[in-house]
Subunit: 244 residues, 2 copies
DNA sequence: CGAGAAATTGAATTGCGTCAATTAGGGTGG
DNA sequence: CCACCCTAATTGACGCAATTCAATTTCTCG
């Protein structure tokens, strides 16, 4: 239970609802089946059926979709505390691939586990639905970025959002954060070519806004970057628990 | 209850889980507070707090985000049976605007209603989570389309997906469907300019694939369009109830 | 120390946006 | 029933942001 109280997921859900001992116990129960995956080896392939869901304990993962023409679109990155493949369980077939970007550790979650959680603790169900909604809000913001921002603003916004997410689980600040992504990851996520990603990064660096280099993101001018990106931090900041 | 059995939402959820009398009753109870909204008058503005959620009974709505520079990105369209603003309730502040495209009718749903549903019928909670996941799958597909498809494939894919959604609630077929959207709606949804939307539509029409005209979409060559779009209908076709 | 991956930079190409103007519908009031 | 207006649809010309192709250079690690 002590372990559960410090798991990244518990930390995140606690921002939404004050959880009782019983609810914390149920949540802890979800972390039973722990598994590890190596960087670069897909956890699930697109189209694979009967996929499990996971709660990411440590490391980074990206979820992506492959196009018939071979190009890849990264839909989202998962950082510790995030659900992974929840949709695969519900829709029965994985419409994504999942690739660990570094070596990771995750807890397996089955459909039956979820049903049990819902039956025992409806408030926890609400909290999980909240987490899912928050993730979707980020996907939506991602969509808006690709649809309506030019490459520069898109990149800036992405780097800011990532920083905000990591800060929520204690892995970053306004100064910067560690980031294992390559420029190819950025390209696949932002709908740009790797070449253009490189050019955009150079411009942001030369403008003194942000540096992406050697696995670390340094935010030289947080306010300037926020303005340049049109970033609204509000939608990620949960001001306090909704359910008491 | 007879009414509930024929509501679009019930119809949709029944594709996911065989619902008991009790569950159908609870679902029917959600349709209590009915409200109407006029076409073109926003139901909610971006940033507005304490927003309610709705279940759309009839008509079309679009959810969108406004950029600081005034451009608009339509994130999704809601058709009968879809939830509307579920995220607004959970995240407490509406990060979207909602605009009825035609006059609509919708049932208001409060946070408390949802909690009650979850407490009384966990399987129904799973079904609602499934519906939410399915919606997110569509947003994801939308994201992929904007990020990695050229204008033609993007349009084709969009029109096919819309058809599949409408077919699920009995409002369309492989032949085509009624569609009240303007080319401006399409442009805002697909991340294109209205001018280019027009050009793309012309090309699709001249290639004998699909016609978008006078509030009706006619699919002249379903298979050809599917191939051209790289459309995978599987992710929307629930082959059968997951929960029995 | 060699090999493959990641990062960088230049040059040529193009899909799509912007600007601008015209045509077609659809409602409204005289 | 027609004149008017406003919105949607349509088409052409031009420019630019981002892609593609191609070539190095710099890392990383076995």
């Amino acid at each position: 239970m002590v372990l559960a109280a410090t798991s990244p997921l518990t930390r995140k859900l606690s921002a939404f609802a004050v959880l009782s001992e019983a609810e914390l116990a149920v949540l802890a129960g979800l972390h039973g089946r722990r598994r590890c995956f190596a960087a670069g080896r897909d956890m699930a392939h697109q189209g694979q059926a009967d996929q499990a869901a996971y709660i990411l304990s440590s490391g980074w993962v990206c979820s992506y979709k492959l196009q018939p023409d071979g190009t890849r679109q990264i839909v989202d990155f998962q950082v510790p505390g995030d659900f992974l493949g929840l949709r695969s369980v519900l829709l029965r077939t994985s419409d994504h691939g999942f690739e660990p970007i570094v070596d990771i550790e995750a807890a397996e979650v089955l459909t039956g586990d979820l049903l049990e959680v819902f039956a025992q603790t409806p408030r926890l169900a609400m909290a999980i639905l909240w987490a899912a909604s928050r993730d979707e809000a980020m996907v939506v913001e991602h969509l808006v970025g690709i649809g309506r921002r030019d490459a520069g603003a898109r990149m800036a916004h992405f780097l800011l959002e990532l920083g905000a997410r990591l800060a929520l689980v204690g892995l970053g600040s306004r100064e910067g954060y560690d980031c294992p992504l390559t420029q190819y990851h950025l390209a696949d996520a932002l709908g740009l070519s790797a070449v253009h990603v490189n050019r955009v990064l150079r411009q942001l660096r030369e403008n003194g806004l942000v540096t992406f280099r050697e696995g670390h993101v340094t935010l030289h001018d947080y306010r300037g970057l926020v303005a340049f990106a049109g970033f609204d931090p509000a939608y990620l900041d949960q001001t306090g628990p909704l359910l008491t």
